[in-house]
């Protein structure tokens, strides 16, 4: 049953451009990008137990580095992408060392502070980043000579990257490293007593999450062909965090659902409802009250209950 549902979903996703207009295909691309970003954050929040409010740093860093290299220094997209990801990983490594000195609210605050410092730099160093005007006029890459300019071709590109990201993150989470991560999340002292190195496990996860955040940043800048400091802002990080929690941080697919929810409310429902912000807040309240662990766990409990039938 599950396989049929999964196959149907995969088919629908793959065939979206053939039955939906450009607008919806583009919306699909945006959801895929947000999903990768949310999934990368969930490695930290759900599986690592580290709530971060600065994840947009990695999205923004990769996006800016790619934008600068391609528009100002004439790099090709391939080398630019590699350098962007490398730079983002280095930054994540460095930030991780600082942030992991604290936990809980302190960790949240450090990640917030670091992302704000990065935001301030992006804003202020207008000689490099063009400050508030952002960097425009960017192009999309042409992998194997295929142009990504049409909505459908970009969508399929994003779908391929997203599927790969999902797969890699699923492998990570279900591997023995993933188990040790969950162990560190739940019982750090016992894990240490057993000979694991909680700090190292957390730090590696932090960097890995940053890596995928960077990947989503590249897709982001390719899609929008524009980057602005607001993409690094706390609002951006907060929206992702909200999506992760709403969707279900304990699951692999939950954050994607949550990210889609936030995006749809912001970009789609806002056309129909003026007070969409209030609606977003009410939806969150509703989710937490009715499905405290998130949408996906809540729905699967519901489905299981329905299947069990009336007792």
């Amino acid at each position: 049953m599950k396989w049929i549902a999964a196959a149907a979903l995969a088919a629908m996703l793959a065939l979206l451009p053939s039955f939906a207009g450009d607008f919806y295909v583009n919306l699909g691309s945006q959801i895929l990008i947000a999903a990768i970003f949310a999934l990368s954050l969930n490695l930290l929040v759900g599986y690592g137990g580290m709530t971060s409010l600065g994840h947009a740093s990695y999205l923004g860093a990769a996006a800016y580095i790619s934008a600068l290299l391609t528009s100002r220094y004439g790099f090709g997209h391939g080398p630019a992408a590699i350098i962007s990801i490398a730079g983002t990983i280095a930054m994540a490594a460095f930030f991780g060392v600082i942030a992991l000195r604290a936990s809980g609210l302190g960790f949240l605050m450090i990640t917030l502070a670091l992302s704000q410092v990065l935001w301030g730099l992006a804003y202020r160093m207008s000689g490099v980043t063009n400050g508030d005007n952002g960097i425009a006029g960017l192009t999309r890459p042409t992998p194997f000579g295929i142009s990504l300019d049409s909505p459908a071709s970009f969508y399929w590109f994003a779908l391929i990257v997203a599927s790969f990201a999902c797969l890699m993150m699923a492998i990570f989470v279900s591997s023995s490293f993933g188990s040790s991560l969950k162990g560190v999340r739940d019982q750090p002292r016992r894990m240490a007593a057993l000979g694991f190195n909680p700090w190292m496990i957390r730090w590696i996860t932090f960097v890995y999450a940053g890596f995928w955040g960077g990947v989503s940043g590249l897709l982001y800048v390719y899609y929008n062909k524009y980057i602005h400091p607001s993409s690094l802002s706390t609002t951006s990080s907060a929206e992702a965090l909200l999506g992760v929690i709403a969707g279900g941080s304990g699951t692999l697919g939950g954050p994607a659902v949550g990210a889609a929810l936030v995006l749809l409310l912001k970009n789609y429902a806002s056309a129909y409802i003026e007070r969409w912000n209030m609606l977003l807040g009410l939806v969150f309240l509703f989710i937490v009250l009715v499905m405290p662990t998130g949408i996906v766990p809540g729905l699967s409990k519901l489905v299981a209950a329905l299947r069990r039938g009336p007792r």
Partner: protein, 415 residues
């Protein structure tokens, strides 16, 4: 007749998929309505402007019974939330989902920059409100016109006025630390110093400044302070300025959004006598504006300002262009040519476009006075035919880099 659950779900799903596919069907003839899209900021700190934009255009359309050039008009207002990525998403929504014929907006400079290439690619006539200089200077587009002004365009006449008629010698400039503030202060500085004045201090406050007290305390002694603010921040700064007793020590002058009518209505006597500049004032005494401002005030209980006035002017120009093309909004090239080619008489005066798509027209120096028990921006001087290049040679102007925090360099700053 009962519908089984499967049928119902099937129908809903079918309807959903059909509605997603609908945009693939072309709107064939000209018999449908003219669809106008608006990109406004309706939530967040810039919301005040976006709300005014929507009010003005709804009023405009209602006055004309939602009909322009013989065709019905459908308006789609999209909330960009002041974020560039959302602006792009909303622009896509307007163009791809709502199939609009033209777009009014966006409001903020960075929003305009984020979607410029997309609008160009889609050949979408865009009547912008955002003031970013380069949109009509070094990166113009045949599909973009702006009916308000560039950031610095209105600052030039004020600097001229301040130097020649108010006879100020030393001025401090203060504005929000983003492109709009940088460009406006740069323009002011240029003309003021060309006329013998000195800018002795240039301050840019971060957009999120909780307490302006520490900036007020940094101000040196000068003849006047020029406020390049927009939105809430100018209001908040001015309040602190007055609280520290500085209103008696130096005059206050401001740019086109510093003491906008929508902010002025919440102010008191501390605003009296402040001189600002703009391409509009609710007090303009041409017949078009008298009708507009009175109607706006009656309906919404406050005077129209930059955003409401700007949107109304935009609507007037769009209407004239649609009439010129006899309602054929589908022919975008013709529509764009009509927009750019007409010299329309609007509530701000006659509007002409220069070759970059920026409006050239009157700029008004205003002073805050009390009239009929409310604060208004009374016009005290009109500078006719002000272009975005002021009196500078266009080619020389464009050779220089765009105005920024450090360009033109401020040479007279006191330490």
């Amino acid at each position: 007749m009962t519908i089984s659950r499967r049928q119902f779900v099937g129908n809903v799903a079918g309807a959903g998929i059909a509605s997603m596919a609908a945009p693939n069907l072309l709107y064939a003839q000209n018999s449908g309505p003219i669809r106008i899209g608006m990109l406004a900021v309706k939530t967040g700190p810039l919301a005040s402007g976006g709300i005014d934009m929507e009010l003005a255009i709804t009023m405009f359309l209602k006055e004309r019974d939602n009909t322009i050039a013989g065709r019905k008009v459908e308006l789609f207002v999209a909330d960009t939330t002041g974020a560039p990525a959302t602006a792009r998403a909303k622009a896509q929504e307007l163009i791809e989902k709502n199939n609009v014929h033209c777009i009014i907006g966006p409001l903020a400079a960075f929003e305009a920059l984020a979607i410029a290439d997309y609008l160009n690619e889609k050949e979408m006539p865009t009547l912008g409100v955002a003031a970013a200089e380069d949109m009509t200077q070094r990166h113009p587009s045949p599909w973009f016109v702006r009916l308000t002004s560039t950031s610095a365009q209105c600052a030039y006449p004020l600097a001229d006025y301040a130097a020649k008629e108010l006879k100020y010698k030393k001025i401090i400039t203060i504005a929000d630390d983003f492109a709009y503030g940088h460009e406006m202060c740069a323009g002011f500085q240029r003309v003021f110093e060309d006329n013998g004045g000195k800018i002795i201090q240039k301050i840019f406050t971060p957009l999120t400044t909780p307490d302006y007290g520490s900036y007020v305390a940094q101000l040196k002694s000068a003849d006047a302070i020029f406020m390049g603010y927009a939105g809430s921040n100018g209001f908040r700064f001015l309040r602190q300025f007055v609280e520290y007793g500085l209103k008696d020590k130096m005059a206050v002058i401001g740019g086109m959004t510093a003491l906008d009518e929508s902010v002025l209505r919440n102010m008191g006597d501390e605003a009296l006598g402040i001189v600002t500049t703009s391409w509009y004032s609710a007090e303009l005494d041409n017949p078009l504006n008298e009708a507009f401002a009175t109607a706006f005030r009656n309906q919404f209980k406050y005077d129209p300002g930059y955003y409401a006035g700007g949107t109304y002017v935009t609507s007037e120009v769009l209407e004239a262009a649609l009439k010129t093309v006899k309602g054929n909004a589908e022919d975008r090239k013709a529509l764009m040519a009509a927009i750019r080619g007409n010299n329309v008489d609007t509530v701000r005066g006659v509007v002409k476009f220069d070759e970059f798509g920026n409006a050239t027209g009157n700029v008004y120096i205003r002073k805050v006075t009390r009239k009929d028990g409310r604060l208004v921006n009374s016009v005290i001087k009109t500078y006719p035919n002000v272009s975005q290049f002021w009196t500078y040679d266009k080619t020389e102007f464009l050779k220089n880099p765009v105005y920024s925090r450090d360009y033109p360099p401020a040479k007279n700053l006191e330490q």
